[in-house]
């Protein structure tokens, strides 16, 4: 666009002196060429610099975007843990330590770990300060630790039941408010956001005893969604995305290629095929939420497939990506030179043989590009998934295409909507994962394409 706008005044400027010179002075052809050559070179230079500027500008925007997301995501990749002296007293756990091992193992599963955690923590702090904690102080103190801490100490005891009635050190996560506080640069013992002066003093005490440690946040990759930012991970959403994309690819690629081949190579050219073509082009522009409504009405209500399942998500996204794949595939098939087909037909090959042994391999790079664009679109889609129940809080990691699951963009959307501050970093980190996934898909496509092009 820029080029054509830029061109028209230049060419009109170019014309008028030319006609002028022709009319008045009789200059030699070489002079005229030299004059216009300089202008043409200038034009080329100008266009080149505009092009370069456009590329640089685009690149700069990408750098800013990725830089911003990465800087916001960084806090999500490490997490503060604290070392506690946990006292597994059997009367706190309310288990009978004289019972047999089997009975004890069963009792340990449903024991009162909250009480163990509370009492152990109160013990740690009251012995070090020498005075008893008030009720309010106890509440504040207990808030320093993640709500998951009781489950961490439970797992630790179940893994080593001989620690019953002993005092051992266990590392547990700190609460997300504390974690955010420690990640920001507050002076030692200074109150911060949602951290009181008293809590800050306790934290300073823990820090001087070298009980606080910052670790790489493994659970971000191994855990599923949680309402506690310090526990939330992307594994469930990532699995959901992979399963959904698997279904989408499995359905849309063969269907899309078959449809495109039929329409290009076999279908007669008449009104009906014209109508189909128009409809396919229209479908490519339909807002994606419409496909979600269709999915709800037909796939879930009529066919009775389960809600929130990657299978249904995959089918809905297939409807969305099919037109893209068909249109791209048809363009690629059209670009195969007719001489190739005619030569093969001339040698006695059947139409089917021509299509599958000559046309399809030639068109494959283009088809793959189209498929990847379609899949990449589907990868970032949330709107159609709302209707079929994939915008949901799902803790269990899906293992098959009929389990309830959510997908990465939905996870990002849900986290971005959460009031807890620490989810901001999680959101950015999840975006980074999504971008990485996209990058992997694109690289695979490029490798595949160059492989096909060589042949």
């Amino acid at each position: 666009m820029t080029n054509s706008i830029d061109n028209s005044p230049a060419s009109s400027r170019n014309n008028s002196p030319m006609s002028h010179t022709e009319a008045s002075t009789a200059s030699s052809t070489t002079e005229k060429v030299a004059l216009s050559l300089k202008k043409r070179h200038q034009k080329e230079k100008r266009f080149k610099s505009i092009g370069l500027f456009a590329v640089l500008f685009g690149f700069m925007l990408v750098v800013i975007l990725i830089g911003d997301i990465t800087s916001k995501a960084l806090p999500a990749f490490h997490q503060h843990w604290v070392k506690l002296d946990v006292n597994y007293q059997s009367d706190w756990l309310s288990v009978d330590d004289s019972s047999t091992q089997q009975v004890l193992a069963k009792q340990l599963k449903s024991a009162n770990y909250r009480k163990v955690l509370k009492n152990s923590v109160y013990q740690m702090f009251s012995t070090s300060t020498g005075k008893k904690l008030s009720r309010k102080e106890k509440r504040q103190l207990f808030k320093l630790f993640s709500t998951n801490a009781e489950f961490t100490i439970k797992d630790a005891l179940i893994a080593a039941p001989n620690q019953l009635n002993k005092q051992v050190t266990v590392w547990v996560r700190l609460d997300d408010d504390v974690d955010s506080y420690l990640k920001e640069d507050f002076a030692v013992g200074e109150a911060g956001l949602r951290i009181t002066k008293q809590q800050a003093m306790w934290l300073a005490q823990l820090a001087t005893e070298a009980r606080i440690e910052s670790r790489f946040n493994v659970s971000f990759f191994t855990a599923s969604d949680s309402r506690e930012p310090e526990l939330a991970g992307i594994k469930g959403a990532l699995m959901g995305t992979l399963l959904t994309m698997f279904v989408t690819l499995l359905l849309s690629f063969p269907l899309g290629v078959a449809g495109a081949l039929y329409l290009e190579e076999f279908a007669p050219k008449n009104r009906i095929t014209d109508l189909i073509e128009i409809n396919i082009n229209n479908l490519a522009a339909v807002p994606s939420i419409v496909f979600g409504l269709l999915g709800l009405a037909v796939i879930i209500n009529l066919f009775g497939l389960p809600r929130s399942a990657p299978l249904v998500g995959g089918i809905v996204l297939t409807l969305m990506t099919l037109p893209t794949i068909i249109i791209a595939s048809r363009a690629a098939i059209k670009a195969v030179p007719p001489s190739l087909r005619e030569a093969a037909l001339g040698l006695g090959a059947s139409k089917m043989q021509v299509t599958f042994s000559h046309v399809l391999p030639q068109a494959m790079p283009g088809i793959i590009t189209g498929a990847i664009i379609g899949i990449a679109q589907a990868l970032g889609e949330t709107a159609p998934l709302l209707m079929i129940g994939m915008v949901a809080f799902i803790v269990d990691v899906p293992t098959s295409i009929v389990d309830s699951s959510t997908v990465l963009p939905v996870q990002i959307f849900l986290w971005a909507d959460s009031p807890e501050r620490a989810f901001l970093a999680k959101t950015s980190a999840a975006i980074l994962v999504l971008l990485t996934l996209l990058l992997v898909i694109n690289v695979t496509a490029t490798v595949l394409r160059s492989k096909f092009e060589k042949k």
Binding site: T147, L250, F253, P254, A258, G304, V395, P419
Partner: protein
Amino acid sequence: MNKMINSTLTKTIISLSLGTVALMSSVANAQGNSRDTITAVGSSTVYPFSTVVAERFGKNTEFKTPKIESTGTGGGMKLFCASNAIDTPDLSNASRRMKKSEFDMCAKNGVTSITEVLVGYDGIVVANSNASEAMKVSRKELFLALAKEVPAKDGSEKLVTNPYKLWSDINPALPANKIEVLGPPPTSGTRDAFAELVLEGGCKKFPWIKAIKKQNKAKYKAICHSVREDHAYIEAGENDNLIVQKLTANPKAFGIFGFSFLDQNSDTLQGSIIDGQEPTFEAIADGSYPVSRPLYFYVKNAHVGKVPGILEFLTEYTSEAAMGEEGYLTDKGLIPLGEEKLVNVRKNVLSLTPLALNK
């Protein structure tokens, strides 16, 4: 060489398509008549609370973690009321009470026995960046600032298109800044509640408008619930975090959102004092802050006993540790019911007393 590739390609395509068909038919058959996970749908405002309970329930019990969808109150009701079939949701979250029309829709589809659970309260705040001063404003002034049509300045009983540009045009005591309020779009339950509690609350203060209510309810609602469309009220989308970020960037603007977002961002934001009350946890809990709404969820009684764990989930939700004065839901920003009400709610819920809506 080429031929070989092509034949494998053909085979792959054919086998893939066959596989898909086989897969789909097998799945359709595998759909049984039972379910082992509780499913809930509904309001995105109740979502943060129900999910916390669900997560703890999944960790503390042998049952699976319930699945909570965020579909919006109205959308949730449609799914919930569709039928008593086992593949419909067991619970529906709502940021307002179930409407009579929804109750009737449920009854028409055979969903006749529903238990109502009052979860707690959620305050709606009007907040701005604490780089500027907190505003003291009445609901009447907020109505004048944000309604589409307001009573004429001369005091006559006539409606004119909202003429106010600056806050100080309404009341000289208010700051001389442009009226600029970021709030949720009409699809949001927060917006409904804001219109009902603040705009209508302020609108009623004009006796002649209040008189219209008796003659023409629709007209009254149109006057009191319509929000101006001349860019003084900016629809900022459903994402409250986005509004919070915009307020920090623009200290002169105000935002409308749930109390939990103010609570989480108290270092950068402050709530406006409405009718003399500051939006604090205590003021919302004891009802003195005027803009708070009840949050509910509904239980399909027909599914109790069919889907494992519903009664246990209700027990966990209504327990002292969750909904109580110092329960973990209050840590997430829920305003608790208070001792007496909670005991009452717990009793009704655990005995699955069916809801009856009369109006």
